[in-house]
């Protein structure tokens, strides 16, 4: 990054080889340019990288999606045929259904739990920093390790969860075999990892709420619960929208957890019961080597995320709208 700044600002330091007489004018021009353009240069490394690794691949994906693009062999232009096939592909819609279901099962309890957790962490208590940092531990644990541990917990023959369940009734429940059980197991994995993270964001937002609001409410005789509902929650609205959108983006791109839950099975179970859209995209790209089709799937995913985020945004604005 520093290199690119240096090279971009290089010409300014050297100065254009103008005639020596109007040197002062040249200098003022340079000074003006400095003020005008330097900020852009300073932020440019991010945008350069974004262009290189973000925007360009996105655009190129459109191009690839319009081809019958096999890894080995010819690349034949077929227009929107891939998109048409994706829209009529039951395997694709199955993956959409799985993704949406796991998104709802995972995200709703996760954000609610995070809110409760943040509220609890906001109280006075012993070793507060330690406890607050503690909720981040799942975050810093390698996701692969988390997934491996959880898939062992949920394993059919020797899993801890089945062992405990065995005391009450069902024995050797095959979590991966059914839709609901696999969704549940994967959602637990996701929540374990992200609840603490969201709680910490909520906590930060809670601490920026002015204390005097609570004091005034307390003087007016508002209970703790009442304070939470009428002060904390409305003041958190922008933060909640933020976490909801970030969770939408993350949830729609769910990949590692279900993949490792199925022990690397890109099809997501014997009947594709937990194959997410990203897994389906990956399967088309790196198992079937049909890059054109995979690119079309990835664009559909992009549209889905966009639609999901907008819906979320609109809904949360409306829900929180009347509160203030």
């Amino acid at each position: 990054m520093t290199i690119s700044i240096g090279s971009r600002t290089g010409p300014r330091a050297a100065g254009p080889p103008g005639p020596p007489a109007p040197r002062r004018r040249a200098r003022t021009v340079l000074a003006r340019w400095d003020v005008k353009f330097s900020p852009y240069l300073f932020v440019s490394p991010y945008y350069l990288l974004f262009f290189l690794f973000g925007l360009f691949p996105m655009g190129y994906t459109v191009w690839v999606a319009m081809h019958d693009w096999e890894l080995l062999g010819a690349h034949e232009f077929i227009g929107f045929e891939n998109f048409r096939l994706v829209l009529a592909d039951p395997q694709f819609w199955n993956s959409v259904r799985n993704t949406l279901a796991m998104f709802v099962i995972a995200t709703v309890p996760q954000l609610l739990l995070a809110l409760v957790l943040a509220n609890a962490l906001n109280q006075r208590m012993r070793a507060r920093t330690l406890v607050r940092m503690g909720v981040l531990v799942p975050m810093i644990t390698s996701i692969a390790a988390v997934a491996i541990v959880f898939s062992q917990l949920f394993s059919r023959d020797f899993g801890l969860v089945n062992w405990v369940l065995g005391w009450f009734g069902p024995e050797h429940l095959d979590w991966a075999a059914r839709r609901w059980t696999s969704w549940l197991a994967i959602s637990v994995m996701v929540d374990w990892r992200w609840t603490g993270y969201n709680a910490l964001i909520y906590l930060a937002a809670m601490q920026s709420i002015p204390r005097d609001l609570y004091e005034a409410a307390a003087i007016d005789g508002a209970s703790r619960a009442r304070q939470f509902w009428t002060i904390t929650l409305p003041m958190l609205r922008p933060t909640i929208i933020f976490t909801a959108i970030v969770s939408t983006i993350g949830g729609f791109q769910l990949f590692t957890e279900p993949l490792l839950f199925g022990n690397g099975d890109m099809a997501g179970g014997s009947l594709r019961q937990f194959q997410t859209v990203t897994m389906y995209m990956f399967e088309n790209a790196f198992r079937r080597f049909d890059y054109g089709y995979a690119s079309a799937v990835s664009w559909m995913l992009f549209m889905l995320i966009l639609a999901g985020s907008l819906l979320n945004f609109a809904w949360l604005r409306r829900v929180g709208g009347g509160a203030k």
Binding site: G73, S155, D157, A177, W194, V246, Q253, S270, R287, F289
Partner: protein, 432 residues
């Protein structure tokens, strides 16, 4: 901080790593300073080449060998295909499993013609069908040299057989099951006597083995006929292997484990099944999974239903190699009769060379882990009778759909008829 940012960041990191990796690969030709040539060899699973590499380096002072190994074939294949398609990244010598060879045979120009490097005189060192598999139909372009083949046997646990009152001697065990029906009958006896373990590991490994066997004994192809047409629905071998597997499943003999999954591994450790169909390369896998605790408890008997081959590989030199000549020499060395014997002793990879199969060192080889079973004799006996098996370019994904359907059956999620229909429909999708 955001999830998406973290994704981006990790993407950047992996891109950087990739770039480094690529430049490192590209740089393997950067040996201009001295005359040392570094040859990169890409393999998957275990080939048993460690000793051979050392020997080759000692014999050829100007050559250094860099060995890159990927354990899982499923991970190795996409990488290899990408390297070959991109025209960079592949090693100088690459291992090609027979399942993907067909795909590469459609693009022989991606590899050097080994006939140009004097491999033609070696034809007699290989089983005829193995040689022809990597040769273009016009006989002018040789893509790869055979390493091993996957001769078939049935591995069983003597301690569990004893518990069930079955014979434990490998000859007697082999006589228990000349056919798969006899195997099922034995399994029922086993299930009657032993309750805390099943007779066989699972449908996936069983089906793949029976399919390879049934197909090579009959039509000589599996899901695709030699013209590349999907014939999964009409090939009697595909259906008969399915039916046999189903019968074993419905007799309640299967532990329902999917090969190469962690639960399969723990199944070995916990002695959850008594038999497993074992192509020669499976011996190393069993030893690795069952661990030292099961040493001497496993043994190897003849497979029901007669000879066959499942799996096996080739060595090829990608066109992109900067040291094609040295690489071709190395490939010739690694697939020589002597090297195949060394690899067999190291990892029990069954030689694809008739001379090696006949070699006393192979024939008399006993595997200590498997109760001193004369594995050389057991596998070599059927190996030369094996008939070639044609696998289509999309053999891997189609096979996986059949595995999925069998798993769904085993999980009780599909009825037999529906599972068969689903497998066929999904196969159509994969072959599209």
């Amino acid at each position: 901080m955001l999830r998406s940012h973290r994704r981006l960041a990790s993407g950047l990191v992996s891109a950087a790593v990739l770039a480094l990796g690529l430049s490192a690969c590209g740089g393997d030709g950067g040996s201009g300073s001295d005359s040392t040539v570094t040859l990169t060899v890409d393999t998957f699973s275990t080939f048993g080449y460690e000793e051979l590499f050392k020997q080759y380096e000692a014999d050829h002072p100007g050559i250094k060998i860099k060995h890159r190994n990927v354990v899982q074939l499923d991970e190795y294949l996409p990488r290899l295909e990408q390297w070959i398609a991109a025209g960079s990244g592949a090693g100088d010598v690459v291992a090609i499993e027979e399942g993907i060879l067909t795909k590469f045979m459609a693009h022989p120009d991606k590899f050097v013609n080994l006939l140009d490097y004097g491999a033609g005189s070696l034809q007699g060192n290989f089983l005829d069908w193995k040689w022809k598999q990597a040769l273009t139909p016009d006989g002018k372009y040789l893509v790869g040299l055979g390493t091993d083949i996957g001769g078939l046997a049935m591995c069983y646990r003597t301690d569990l057989f004893k518990k069930a009152g079955l014979p434990t001697d490998r000859d007697k065990v082999g006589k228990l099951w000349p056919t798969w029906d006899d195997y099922i009958a034995t399994g029922k006896k086993y299930a009657g006597a032993v309750k805390d373990s099943k007779f066989v590991d699972g449908s996936v490994n069983l089906y793949n083995t029976i399919l390879a066997q049934a197909a090579s004994q009959s039509v000589g192809y599996t899901f695709f006929d030699p013209s590349g047409k999907l014939v999964a629905g009409s090939n009697p071998a595909v259906k008969s292997a399915w039916d046999t597997t189903l019968k074993i499943q419905q007799a309640g003999l299967s532990a329902g484990l999917k090969s190469f999954e962690p639960s399969w591994g723990s199944g070995f450790k916990q002695a959850k099944f008594a038999t497993i169909a074992c192509p020669s390369w499976m011996l190393g896998v069993i030893k690795e999974n069952a661990g030292a605790g099961a040493a001497g408890k496993w043994d190897v008997a003849a497979i029901p239903g007669g000879s066959g081959s499942r799996g096996g590989s080739f060595l090829a030199v990608p066109k992109q190699s900067k040291h094609a000549e040295q690489a071709a020499e190395l490939a010739k060395y690694l697939t020589s009769v002597n090297s195949q014997i060394v690899a067999f002793k190291a990892r029990n990879n069954l030689p694809s060379s008739p001379q090696a199969l006949d070699d006393p060192a192979v024939k008399s080889f006993k595997n200590e882990y498997f109760s001193d079973a004369p594995v050389g004799e057991i596998y070599a006996a059927g190996a030369k009778a094996v008939k070639p098996l044609y696998l289509g370019a999309d053999n891997n994904p189609v096979g996986q759909r059949f595995e999925d359907a069998l798993l769904a059956l085993e999980q009780g999620r599909l009825a037999p008829g529906a599972a068969w229909k689903k497998a066929l429909a999904d196969a159509e999708r994969e072959a599209r």
